[in-house]
Amino acid sequence: MKYVALVYYQEQLINAMSEPEWHALNQECIAGVERLTEQGYFIAGQALQSVDHATNVRVRNGEVLVSDGPFAETKEQLAGFYLLDARDLNEALRLASRIPPARFGTIEVRPVRELPPKDQTGDAS
């Protein structure tokens, strides 16, 4: 089964970190991904730039609307994601608990949803 682990934390906690602390956290994340890969769990994943760099796109009435956001009211911000191949939800939770920001943020684990098969569009005649 595939699961996505979404990493959320308060960016202000990160901003308050010293340079060596930030460096150590990054190295820990790199080692964590290495281990997940070695163990065959890691499919894909990426850390994200801070929400200051986020841009939203919406289409309303055929019009493309672009805006900044999300805004700082939200308590924790999305900081990265992992796509994991785990045996079951409990295994995915165990792996997610190893993601370093789990110690000060929240890792949301969601099973992936497979889309239904594509409609047949061949000639009906």
Binding site: M1, E28, R35, E38, Q39, G40, Y41, R87, D88, L89, N90, E91, L93, R94, S97, R98, P111
Partner: protein, 407 residues
Amino acid sequence: MQVQASIESLYHRYAPRVRATLIRHLGDFDSAEDALHDAFAAAVNHWPEHGVPDDPLAWLIRVGHRRGIDQIRRRQTARRHAHLLITEEDDEPEPQPIADDPLRLLFTCCHPVLAMPDRLALTLREMAGLTTEQVANALLQKTASLAQRIVRAKRRIRDAGVPYETPDEAELPKRLPDVLGVIYLIFNEGYSRSDGDSVVDVHLADEAIDLAQSLARLLPHGEAFGLLALMLLHDARRAARQDAQGDLVPLEEQQRHLWDKAQIETGMHWLEQALALTPIAPYTLQASIAAVHAKAVDAESTDWRRIERLYEALYRCQPSPVIALNRAVAVAMSDTPDAGLALLDALSSHKQVVTYHLYHAALADLHRRAGHLTDARHAYHNALALCTQGPERRFLARRLAELDQTR
């Protein structure tokens, strides 16, 4: 490529034993699970080049143990609890797989500090090897809730300091019933759910039988054999218990040629083993009762007198009103419905009994056999009001309708 495929098959063969041993060495489920996967990852790297070791199980446990210790150290350093660092590896004895490890795991999953639903969930996932999703599906629970239950149960085991061990001779009589009770509950969950109302990809009855088979192999105890025999004999009637519409068929109306003869024979074999060790014990006695039914060529030739005596012995082991209820039914069948009704009447002061739908169902059936149609109708209505399971409800409603036709 070939080594790759053989690692895959070795994983299926050895993972449960490596896991059970690593739990003993590393002290908790999650560290063991992590270490297990590190060990297999190391095997994928190492074996294609250096060949599969002579004793893959010992190799995996050794590597898993070393990796597990490394991880625990790293975490402790990260938490700056250097004073908690475990002792140097040199002092540690070489980790060894012990044949008992799966048994320790089973006793831990069924430990009395856990609530019954936790024991069920943990046993199915950790011992039977089902996924969280399969367990949730089989127990008709939400996956996310069940996952939380499993996480909390493991924490409870750690916090309560449940020792990872098989009870010794002195404690076994007290602890074995816990394990047998969990397995039997899993079986009954499966038995009552095989109703075609819900699509379940796992048959809990099969899982329970598999668990009892491993238990019987690891712990040659009469009641373990008795439970296995009981479940095999009951489950042998699976195909006859429902008609084509998925409706419940009572024992006396079952097409006995649909019973699984080979499975009955296996059940009888285990019952013999059980009788040699624990003839007068709850599961062995229940298996003996199931065996009387299995031996009868048709409902009429059932030795009800023997069943009645077995229920009497069972009642002396476990004086529960439910067993008294079954005994009353046996008396009704071997003697007269009125004799059974007199015994049922004596049970009506038990609150546990009068809220139990099968009490009213039994009452209804005996009144029906005795020709007391008004009392029978009344009891069927009471049974229906208390019964929640689809197939049983349909069966009771059908009986009630039959009575109304004979009016």
